[in-house]
Symmetry: D2
Amino acid sequence: MNHPTSTPATDPIPNVLAERYASRAMQEIWSAHGRILLERDFWIAVMKAQRDLGVAIPAEAIKDYERVRDDVSLERIKERERVTLHDVKARLEEFSDLASRQFIHLGLTSRDLTENVEQLQVARALKLVQFKAVAALHLLAQRAAEYRDVMLTGRTHNVPAQPTTLGKRLAMFGQELQLAHDRLDNLIARYPVRGLKGAVGTQLDQLTLLGGDTDKVDQLEGRIIKHLGFKAAFGAVGQVYPRSLDFDTVSALHQVGAAAASCATTLRLMAGAGLLTEGFQEGQVGSSAMPHKVNARNCERVCGFSTILSGYVTMTAALAGHQWNEGDVSCSVVRRVALPDAFYAIDGLFETFLTVLRQLEAFPAAIAAENQRNLPFLATTTILMEAVKNGAGRETAHEAIKEHALAAAKALRLGGDADLLARLAGDKRVGLGKKKLTEVLRQNERFVGAAPHQVDAFVAAVAPLVKKHKGAAEYRPGKLL
Amino acid sequence: MNHPTSTPATDPIPNVLAERYASRAMQEIWSAHGRILLERDFWIAVMKAQRDLGVAIPAEAIKDYERVRDDVSLERIKERERVTLHDVKARLEEFSDLASRQFIHLGLTSRDLTENVEQLQVARALKLVQFKAVAALHLLAQRAAEYRDVMLTGRTHNVPAQPTTLGKRLAMFGQELQLAHDRLDNLIARYPVRGLKGAVGTQLDQLTLLGGDTDKVDQLEGRIIKHLGFKAAFGAVGQVYPRSLDFDTVSALHQVGAAAASCATTLRLMAGAGLLTEGFQEGQVGSSAMPHKVNARNCERVCGFSTILSGYVTMTAALAGHQWNEGDVSCSVVRRVALPDAFYAIDGLFETFLTVLRQLEAFPAAIAAENQRNLPFLATTTILMEAVKNGAGRETAHEAIKEHALAAAKALRLGGDADLLARLAGDKRVGLGKKKLTEVLRQNERFVGAAPHQVDAFVAAVAPLVKKHKGAAEYRPGKLL
Amino acid sequence: MNHPTSTPATDPIPNVLAERYASRAMQEIWSAHGRILLERDFWIAVMKAQRDLGVAIPAEAIKDYERVRDDVSLERIKERERVTLHDVKARLEEFSDLASRQFIHLGLTSRDLTENVEQLQVARALKLVQFKAVAALHLLAQRAAEYRDVMLTGRTHNVPAQPTTLGKRLAMFGQELQLAHDRLDNLIARYPVRGLKGAVGTQLDQLTLLGGDTDKVDQLEGRIIKHLGFKAAFGAVGQVYPRSLDFDTVSALHQVGAAAASCATTLRLMAGAGLLTEGFQEGQVGSSAMPHKVNARNCERVCGFSTILSGYVTMTAALAGHQWNEGDVSCSVVRRVALPDAFYAIDGLFETFLTVLRQLEAFPAAIAAENQRNLPFLATTTILMEAVKNGAGRETAHEAIKEHALAAAKALRLGGDADLLARLAGDKRVGLGKKKLTEVLRQNERFVGAAPHQVDAFVAAVAPLVKKHKGAAEYRPGKLL
Amino acid sequence: MNHPTSTPATDPIPNVLAERYASRAMQEIWSAHGRILLERDFWIAVMKAQRDLGVAIPAEAIKDYERVRDDVSLERIKERERVTLHDVKARLEEFSDLASRQFIHLGLTSRDLTENVEQLQVARALKLVQFKAVAALHLLAQRAAEYRDVMLTGRTHNVPAQPTTLGKRLAMFGQELQLAHDRLDNLIARYPVRGLKGAVGTQLDQLTLLGGDTDKVDQLEGRIIKHLGFKAAFGAVGQVYPRSLDFDTVSALHQVGAAAASCATTLRLMAGAGLLTEGFQEGQVGSSAMPHKVNARNCERVCGFSTILSGYVTMTAALAGHQWNEGDVSCSVVRRVALPDAFYAIDGLFETFLTVLRQLEAFPAAIAAENQRNLPFLATTTILMEAVKNGAGRETAHEAIKEHALAAAKALRLGGDADLLARLAGDKRVGLGKKKLTEVLRQNERFVGAAPHQVDAFVAAVAPLVKKHKGAAEYRPGKLL
């Protein structure tokens, strides 16, 4: 083979998860540009607090930094990094040179900056995921209500088992999402930030800077935590916060995505049986050879994102439990990949899933036709009850029904119609005519049990969540590629 | 090769996680015997509630079941299963035949029984894990307090970075465990049970049994949930509860275990540097060839358990998101393995980790010797400050210190002594004599920053938890193999 | 909660993978009893070789060991381990005490014994897996040949796409298994054993024992490798062989199992559409409420085993890359679990999959009925070609066909019949009567392309493999629970 | 929170693995631009073959396509995709519009194009990985030879165990890499391509296009496979090749990376003990506060890449075994991420690892000093032997040595010097003076066993591999960020 070369390529390689699938809001949280602004705000906040606590930083210096805050050049920073081989130093020098000052980063180590800023990115991204989860819950509730009473052939082992309703099926997946949402909600509530802890976590440098005054150190940290918008902070950490918190985060994302994936998997099954479609976006090209073919391509994509998330679970699961002493950077490249990419993936998942939930179109007639094929089988217990009520002997009727059910199933397999209804109607041992049997089978509400009531309960449970998250009900996913 | 045969082996193959590592309390939760008793209690509770709600079950029948409740023969049940190839049916028929009655399992499907009983096992096991996590937090706090002020060479990238204290290092890992504990605590608080939902989750059969009265169905379920001891129940589920709840559970276990593994990893590093020992159990045989060699074998085992848990995370992560319709049993064999084995693993991890925390013995003199080698390097900033205070020019002194530091580091690599102190003492540019320098380096409290205070805060945070979990402080792990 | 206790439970907890699912042949490879015999044979082989190379071991001593070789008491050994807390030492002392001699294990470390014996277990188990993979390939070829020409509605995105044949579909999964088999075959061919390398891999102790003669050391190792039946050995290892070899092994198992799982997944889909059944074992109880319901329970189980294997992949993936120096035992508990359990899982998978392949029963009439519903859609290109041949204008006919296809698809969704054939037959723009159209659609061989030929090629490729592995074609899986 | 918006961000988000870590050669294989050229070459090759086999494609049309082959505009293609929502269609129309022709893609489905082109990317990338693995083996052999006889304190359980040599330790990790290389080599040798199989794998469309002539279909496929440079092709596939082949691929990458990670982990341990440095790149900034501190940052990064790869193993492990019928696209987004990113990760790993191996600098004096501290402990067996040879009673000497070893170990823990040599020298029961003892301990070759010989064997094994892969010995990694 040719000798591989190692000079940089001219075309930048895009992050496919970010660029093809994630929303702009998620991109902005993780973009290099956005991160640099977060860092600069952080440095400025630290300077101000330090000045207030007595560190000799001129007010003008702070203003000089504020003036150049928005002058971000990724190219210049990259250039610096190529020289120093140290990314934080490159961004630090760039900012100070722009301001022609040397007052940021006093008593800080790189990690005092990066850990806190990255946790801020995580916290914001978690909230965005929660917002979209609530948007999905809203749509699931809406759709469940719409199809509350549409009887559907429920399946276990993928074969017809008992009737349910389409609305109940959607509520079922909605409830799985609700469970995941509750976990996410708790994570957001307790997510602790590392704070200003210094090189090995002892707060030595701030303590020195502030004349050994632990109260001042506490005040400084308190102000920074407030600036970042966190409520909880770690007390005793090393150079880094425990990486099991990243696992906490990414595993929560996987759980949220899994609920959507369960739903999408079942929608794929239903599309295969011709019971519904995930819909077409305007302008979308189906199979040109087969224009009638509507692929559950977006549902498949939701499942794909879920699989991707399981990989980031493994990466962060492997980081957890492997801290050496006060910390090292063997986690660095992993977190550079796994954290943003996991968030892009869950965001792309929701953009896709929300589109599916909006465009989803059930085919009630096809659903009813499936019921008609299966209902006689599923209703044998009820038919037996009616037969007995009508005077038939229980054992005799049971035997007759079983006989016909097996014969009908066999007929189906031989490619014919099951026609179980006709078979039963023609048997005197059962004693119910075709009219009566048809009537029984029409009493949908008799077969779907508490399904509609469960839908109502789910809808009611979702309402306060939607109310709490302003805008979630109105959120529209972006156009999918 | 010889034709493999498929007849059952005579020697039963034990579950190595359960038998070698897990405690009896955890074994009992998951044992076949224990599970059968839970099931029988469940059936009896359902019967009683059904009878109270009007189902025609004679009081004597219930007594007949209660009378034979403890007559458990795994062998007879296995025999039945070999015939029916259906494990629930085997246990059902055994119980009814013993009682000579046919009143259990009315209107129930297999999953109405198994889902609830398995969730009960999970819930109990989660509480046992929490108990042991609190026991570990207690010991970590105790040990951290003990070594609160023992100055230690803190390391990042595994090389000396800044001083900390041994107590602080233990508190740091303690705080990682506390984070995991909080997640576990939340999971236990919100863990919902499936309840009596029937074949596809519509509660059809109970509704039919109770004359279509949804109130009665609600009362029945309420009584059963209360019997099981749960506070929350799913409203809308299918045949099964969402398997992402199992991922929720197992990923929480991994997070708990990871905190211990981080600690164990660092203890292994410290044992390698001769700074401490995880201790010997009475009677334990070390390396016979090298009687002085104390291997961190238990710490290694803790890390091993953490790796095991990451595998069960993958299994349950793969279950999540893959429900087909109202559920199927492709998850069955996975849950039979992953749920108990994950709990055995975390239990074995804690039995081992608690032993380590009890037997752990630091070598303060060796720790001090390491400090002495490294402290002059770690203290260069402080020395500079003192030199300037003493009248040296800042730049001159800085240059001198840097010169000596590099020379001393080089000397170390050449196999000599660094002797940085002597080098500095001999340089007039620094202007501090050996006595003064030694004095500076002796002021440990100057170098460890807020470490001791962080220990105090950790100890204070753990105290209420320990108080809440009676017995945790006194818990003694079993003897390890 | 009650204070958990840690005394051993009375009931042994079985390994569910081994006891419920694995074959006796696989159990024997991994049983404690079987392993002890392998170890004793190993010790005896080493003694004999050492004696031949000049080490002072009396021939009678060897005989004394051979005499007690089969006297295995797991209980006595366990008792010893409880005292020494060292499992190898326990087994060593037991054997020597039985023989009243002290000649085994000369110059060996524990790992010289355990690494080699465990690799022997792995190698034997790999060959058993290969044997069953070939048995499955044989059945897949047989079944593919049986259904070679049975036209089937091929699906992509789970919706009808183009016709294929049932035989071709089975051959497709067969080829995935063949790919995995080839990887397994290569692994078996190159699987290297650790050999007698001593405490840190330098062969120091054997070298000392054999008077510093490296030739003798080589001869000794050569004899032991031959005794074990390996062809390749590592040259430079530490205390342990590289754990990435375990990942090599377990990932190969997952790949083999995945081929079966892909097939099982599709069989589950087909069972859901009523096209086939995985069959019933004699005596198996289906759903009592619905006697006609045939669940694809074994196929689901195959998928479950595949998920389990992915977890052991994660465990061994996490071991790989984490060796510390010449090795440690943080991998010990992981390998105790992951290696046998992965082999039990793949073995259980094959026992189940082979049962499915034997009992599988297609419903050709149901398959034909599905074709009839879909074929007109799938055959539109062919119909267009015929219309043009018959004199229709290409664009006109194309437009007409598209019109009818969309209308027919809409009718289907509205619950009616598609009846595309009738629609086309009635349109003069197409110009083909019902008779002609029916005739076209009957020419199955026209629609299935090269599918039958691909079946033939697959069958031909499998034949030599089956021939090479004696007994594979005749192998019968055990009765499933 | 603010309403998230979904319009595209202005700043493109780069793929961090590609842009920060991977080499240009790897970037080019996976770049959008490079892929489009591969596709166009593929289309042209198919056209030429089709024309030769009688399909009516004018030679001029082919020339028109060839003329515009290099006119690649990612922006125009992206624009098209935004309209059609179908990426292949966008690239197809762009190419045809540029050529003002309509002859490409005749009888092809999207997957006929994409599967083959992606497999070509994989195959090329695999060869690049092999090339770098050989480059690493070359450096490991070179370094092992360089340090062949440098005695080193071998460690198990991370504590001193027996002497080895530094060269042997490197050869040990080299052998792990060799094992992985052999697996990779086999994968490359048997890697089969999907070929032109049509929508569901039956080759129907090519068969129709070529007048039903299966020979011509075979010739066409044969020519395309040859164009792609593959030796093996699948016979029976569906719409897609089996995804377990992707698992085969990515798990091989993880295994290769794991060998490097094991080595890097141990180098990190050694750097922590001051025994070596991974070196500095020119211009690299260490810790400014501690200029003497040399972090094993690149080694940590190698470990990080290995962790990343384990996540892609999970993703592809989850794809394997989940094919639905003839295939779907739930794998699509997963493969878009996991395949290139896994290759970028392994490439970044090797760029880093090769840099480490080049810059690695051992500190022989520090290594010797460690030996001196530990050797008396490690050499007790040899000392005993000498004592006995010198006339001491075996049991007496053994007891004395053990006594002193324990006392010396205790002294070490108390912060003092072990001074075992002096202790032994002073004991008449041992009977060897300080001079004799010192002499014994100086006989390094006596303690390192066969380590140097194992190095020689490893070096010899690597040589032919390096010879076979031209340029590997000379390959220089790019400058690291």
